[in-house]
């Protein structure tokens, strides 16, 4: 180790050498020979050498010490040396700075410092003339650039991963909860029930049908079954051949997972695939299965009906195959109403099946689903899991969704409280799942109105509501859809199939199954909202003024021409009865012409020719009484025009023989113009092309474009 006196001597000696020879950074050998011994000498000093910094040698000695003790350096002072006139000092300063970067000097933990430094380095790099110092600065800039990215990275905390995932159907037992009863029912059906070959597993979307099938695929029914899973949606839009090919390909893949089969002995499914191939193919496989039965699981089975035109006997052929093959079973899974499929020729297949409904989880299963995934992270406050179930009733999808939000709200906390649950419910309501929105979109307007009324009628004291209460509520709110009690009853039954409502046992009273859904309906779809939405939709469909007027003109033209023809035919007569007949003929014709279609189909010939239709101002088809009232008003209009009409007729008859035929036609046009003026006035009295008569009868004339248009 050298002392302070020796350091001064070392500095003086270096100074002398520097004055004697002009060593540039690029003279690597000479530079090393000059500086290396100095660096070795000062490296062991316990503190920075106490030398004069106003000399080149002094600067170099201090920088060399800092290069070896980077954590003791002040990088700001090192940057100042990058502006030194001696290139050797600048190079050594760059090396010393580099050492501070590598030593993780606290200076580099500040983003601000990094950016200041980078700016200086970039400036110096631009100004630097020495290639080797330039190279060193480039490297330094790169190193500092990496620090820049690292500094940002350090700021991001590692998040905790949410164990609740309400996503794709569940594979494996790890995340699958409950449904033991469903699996038991399936097993019991196939194993213990003689001749039971098919099951229809049905239930609303997102209740876990596919997850159950995937459990069976993973062996939930034991080794007695060789399961083959087919998602019918994979075949969507394809022809029957493709469907059968995919079915057989899946079967082949499933069988190959369990044992080797001599596939060449079976029919080639690539060549030709039809039902004639399916049967021997499956028989060939079944013959090789010793103690096992082949179980086909057809998910989203509703898609099968798309093949009914191509293969009307498909269902019968399937059933026949099931009856022939003792070791062949089928599970159909889907959400569509069974009745709608029965009408498409599938009754032969479905009537022989056992129906198993999949719906909410049992309370103990749902509580397990809530508690188990977070056992290591936090605990629920007493009563909170039960409160979750009040919102979801154990619906697997919605329960997972709420738990997912609660998990995020708890954060790094150790307890999930009812406040966390309340916040989660609010979050869900402001950003509901697509499933909920789509379910709402898919139900009919009658169902929407009844669902909205039932949601609004709810009270904690009386959660169940009867059809009469719903009917009264709809009436009092001037709802957009008029429903009778029996229609309300039917609508409620339909809502039950999507698991939204339940019936009080033995009573005709209903309530929401899930408070979460009820809250969403209340917040987003009140009866007033529905009325507003529906009305705006209808108003947007109202026919244009021109089209409505044109329809009236057509009707009037027909009345006029036929009326004139009749009058001309009868003009020769002089008897008073025939004179009366002369006036009545066009009138009766016009009445019949306008009234009959209005009362039967709801629109006149002119309206139909221009694709116009009369609908209720708040709902679809107008009632018979509304149509009758509308027809009566049209008659009033016609009757008002009749005196003018009669006058025109008389003038035409009088002038028909005279040389004033042109005048007669001019008068006819005047009458026509008057008729149109009346129509225009009617429309102007109304709103948005809703004429006065339509407004009085709460009807709308809408344009229904036909396909050609």
């Amino acid at each position: 180790m050298i002392d302070s006196r020796t350091t001064t001597e070392l500095c003086d000696e270096l100074d002398r050498k520097l004055q004697q020879q002009d060593i540039q950074p690029e003279d690597v050998g000479a530079r090393e020979q000059l500086l290396r011994p100095v660096e070795v000498s000062v490296a062991d000093l316990p503190s920075a050498p106490d030398v004069r910094r106003d000399t080149t040698a002094g600067c170099l000695i201090v920088l060399l010490w800092y290069k070896n003790h980077p954590t003791a350096a002040d990088p700001e002072s090192l940057f100042a040396e990058l502006y030194h006139k001696s290139p050797l000092v600048r190079l050594t300063a760059a090396n010393a700075i580099s050492a501070t970067v590598k030593s993780s000097h606290f200076y580099w933990s500040e983003t601000r410092s990094i950016h200041d430094a980078r700016q200086v380095l970039l400036n110096r790099r631009d100004a630097e003339t020495s290639p080797i110092i330039g190279y060193q600065l480039d490297k330094l800039i790169e190193e500092v650039g990496k620090l820049r990215r690292t500094s940002k990275k350090k700021r991001r905390p590692k998040p905790r991963m949410n164990p609740y995932v309400a996503g794709l159907p569940v594979h494996g037992r790890g995340r699958f909860f409950g449904r033991d009863d469903i699996l038991e029912q399936i097993e019991e059906s196939f194993v213990r029930r003689e001749g039971q070959k098919s099951i229809v597993l049905y239930g609303a979307r997102r209740t876990g049908k596919t997850s159950v099938l995937l459990q069976i695929k993973d062996g939930a029914l034991g080794k007695g079954f060789l399961p083959v899973y087919l998602d019918m949606q994979a075949t969507a839009g394809t022809d029957l051949q493709s469907f059968l090919r995919i079915l057989l390909r899946n079967t082949k893949a499933a069988v190959s997972e369990h044992f080797e089969l001599a596939w060449d002995k079976l029919p080639d499914i690539q060549e030709r695939t039809d039902f004639g191939i399916l049967q021997p193919f499956l028989q060939g496989i079944i013959a090789e299965l010793e103690d096992q039965a082949l179980l086909l699981m057809i998910d989203e089975y509703e898609v099968l009906q798309r093949y009914r035109t191509e293969a009307p006997d498909l269902a019968r052929q399937f059933q026949s195959l099931l009856e022939q093959e003792t070791k062949l079973y089928v599970i159909f899974a889907g959400s569509q109403k069974l009745e709608s499929l029965r009408q498409t020729g599938f009754s032969v297949l479905l009537d022989n099946a056992r129906y198993i409904k999949i719906s909410f989880l049992k309370t103990d299963e749902a509580l397990k689903l809530i508690r188990e995934p977070v056992e290591d992270a936090f605990t629920y406050d007493e009563g909170v899991p039960e409160q979750i179930l009040e919102y979801t009733n154990g619906h697997p999808f919605y329960t997972q969704l709420l738990c997912q939000l609660i998990y995020d709200n708890v954060g790094s906390g150790k307890t999930a409280t009812s406040e966390h649950l309340d916040a989660a419910v609010d979050q869900f309501l402001s950003n509901p799942s697509p499933h909920l929105i789509l379910t709402w979109n898919a139900i009919s307007k009658e169902q929407k109105v009844v669902a909205a009324a039932l949601a609004e009628l709810y009270s904690k004291e009386e959660p169940f509501q009867g059809t009469n209460e719903i009917g009264s509520r709809l009436h009092s709110d001037d709802n957009p859809v008029k429903l009778t009690v029996s229609e309300i009853q039917k609508t409620l039954t339909d809502l039950r199939t999507i698991d939204w409502i339940e019936q009080k046992p033995g009573m005709k009273a209903y309530r929401y199954t899930m408070e979460l859904v009820r809250r969403w309906v209340i917040d987003n779809h009140s009866i007033l909202d529905l009325a507003q939405g529906l009305h705006e939709k209808l108003i947007s469909r109202v026919a244009s003024f021109g089209r409505q007027t044109a329809a009236s003109a057509i009707d009037f033209g027909i009345c006029l021409v036929i009326g004139l023809l009749a009058a001309t035919m009868l003009k020769a007569s002089d008897s008073s009865i025939e004179t009366l007949w002369l006036y009545l003929t066009p009138l009766i014709f016009s009445y019949v012409y306008l009234l009959v279609p209005l009362l039967t189909s709801g629109s006149t010939l002119g309206q139909r020719l221009l694709s116009l239709s009369l609908i209720g101002a708040t709902a679809g088809k107008p009632s018979q009484s509304r149509r009758a009232l509308y027809a009566l008003l049209v008659l009033v209009r016609l009757t008002l025009v009749i005196p003018v009409f009669r006058l025109a007729g008389e003038i035409v008859i009088t002038l028909a023989d005279a040389p004033f035929l042109a005048l007669a036609w001019l008068l006819t046009l005047v009458v026509l113009a008057m008729w149109l003026c009346l129509d225009i006035l009617m429309l102007l009295f109304g709103k948005k092309h809703q004429g006065l008569y339509e407004k009085l009868t709460r009807l709308l004339v809408v344009h229904v474009p036909n396909e050609a248009e």
């Binding site: 983003t111 631009d126 590692k158 949410n162 979307r205 949606q233 994979a234 697509p434 507003q532």
Partner: protein
């Protein structure tokens, strides 16, 4: 330290962020998305235009974010931007999709049809223990494409379920109702999706975006500057970028004159007027009425929900226990235009009269 050269303005971003260094905030959303993806959940990113949905799609593939969210290296994120391709048929789309997956995984396949190719590539990816994530940007282009039959979405749903390949979609529409308004995709497809709402930044994220880029370039935005930007831009990243751009330019010019704030507001207004109009048009009648009467003390259910909705959209922001309209400019913009609009309830009543 010598003379400073003119610094490049770091707030020039107006397009989706593709560079990891320029991506700020979104910590909670990114964690949420990665969590869901690990559970193979499909995600639909919902949020107003220019809020940053496409940037989030890009960010899913950023090394740093993958690392801190513990995303295993076998994940392959396949980004498909649908606005750049001309899709004339299902086959076109499938060919493009297969090509993109092939690029991301290095797997080449040749099937009897493109549907079959998509199945084969997924099988190959599974064999190589790769986990695919498909990110579809500008998904509206597909939804409104008449050439894509509804059955295609049923096939996609089956493919997703079978191979457990989650999709992340980003659409231009601000809410899910709009996306499914002319829905040809079928509910089965959307049923497996979860919504992730992309709103404005959190307050600390907004401040980070204001200060850090300038800081990295050696320009300090002090507390007064931060307040000025937040007063103009609220927590909207695009507005923050625009406000900071002009602030940075002013700072470059040296000491600020008295009129500096007015200049800044004018420049900001010119750049943002169309965005503000869009935001205003997205408000419901109830929300406009609420804002017209702001601050509303009422805690009635309707007001509470409207307030929460506006907070979620970022139109209202909460700072230091005070709730305010996010931008002083938005405030004047709102009150300047058609203040006489009727409320929803009033219009319903008049329609039913």
């Amino acid at each position: 330290m010598g003379s400073q050269r003119v610094r490049q303005n770091p707030y020039t971003t107006r397009i989706p962020i593709a560079n990891e260094d320029e991506f700020y905030g979104r910590a909670k959303i990114m964690a949420d998305i990665f969590t869901r993806l690990k559970g193979s959940q499909c995600i639909s990113l919902i949020g107003e235009r220019r809020i940053g949905k496409s940037s989030i799609l890009n960010a899913l593939n950023f090394d740093e974010l993958r690392e801190i969210n513990d995303v295993a290296p076998e994940y392959r994120f396949v980004l498909v931007d649908l606005q750049y391709i001309n899709i004339r048929s299902e086959e076109d789309l499938l060919a493009y999709l297969v090509g993109e997956i092939s690029d991301a995984t290095g797997i080449s396949v040749w099937g009897e049809s493109h549907r079959h190719s998509l199945e084969l590539i997924a099988i190959q990816a599974q064999r190589q223990e790769l986990r695919l994530v498909i990110m579809l940007d500008e998904f509206d282009y597909l939804l409104h494409n008449d050439q894509i039959p509804p059955q295609f979405y049923a096939f996609l749903r089956a493919w997703i379920t079978r191979f457990r390949v989650p999709f992340v979609t980003a659409s231009r529409e601000g809410n899910f109702e709009k996306i499914t308004e002319t829905d040809d995709t079928g509910s089965a497809f959307w049923n497996i999706f979860g919504n992730v709402y992309v709103g404005p930044f959190e307050e600390d994220e907004a401040i980070q975006l204001i200060q850090e880029p300038a800081d990295r370039d050696g320009v300090e935005f002090d507390d007064e500057d931060v307040e000025l930007v937040l007063d103009l831009a609220g927590f909207f990243p695009i507005f923050i970028q625009i406000a900071c751009y002009h602030l940075f330019e002013h700072k470059q010019k040296g000491p600020q004159s008295e009129e500096f704030k007015e200049h800044l507001k004018r420049a900001f207004t010119v750049d943002t007027v169309s965005h503000f109009r869009y935001l205003k048009n997205r408000l419901t009648d109830l929300e406009i009425e609420y804002l017209n009467n702001f601050p509303v003390e009422s805690n009635a259910r309707e007001d509470r929900y409207t307030r929460e909705g506006l907070l979620q959209k970022g139109i209202l922001i909460r700072r230091q226990n005070e709730t305010r309209i996010f931008s002083s400019l938005m405030k004047s913009f709102l009150f300047r235009e058609d203040s006489s609009r009727r409320s929803l309830i009033q219009s319903v009543k008049s329609l039913l009269e």
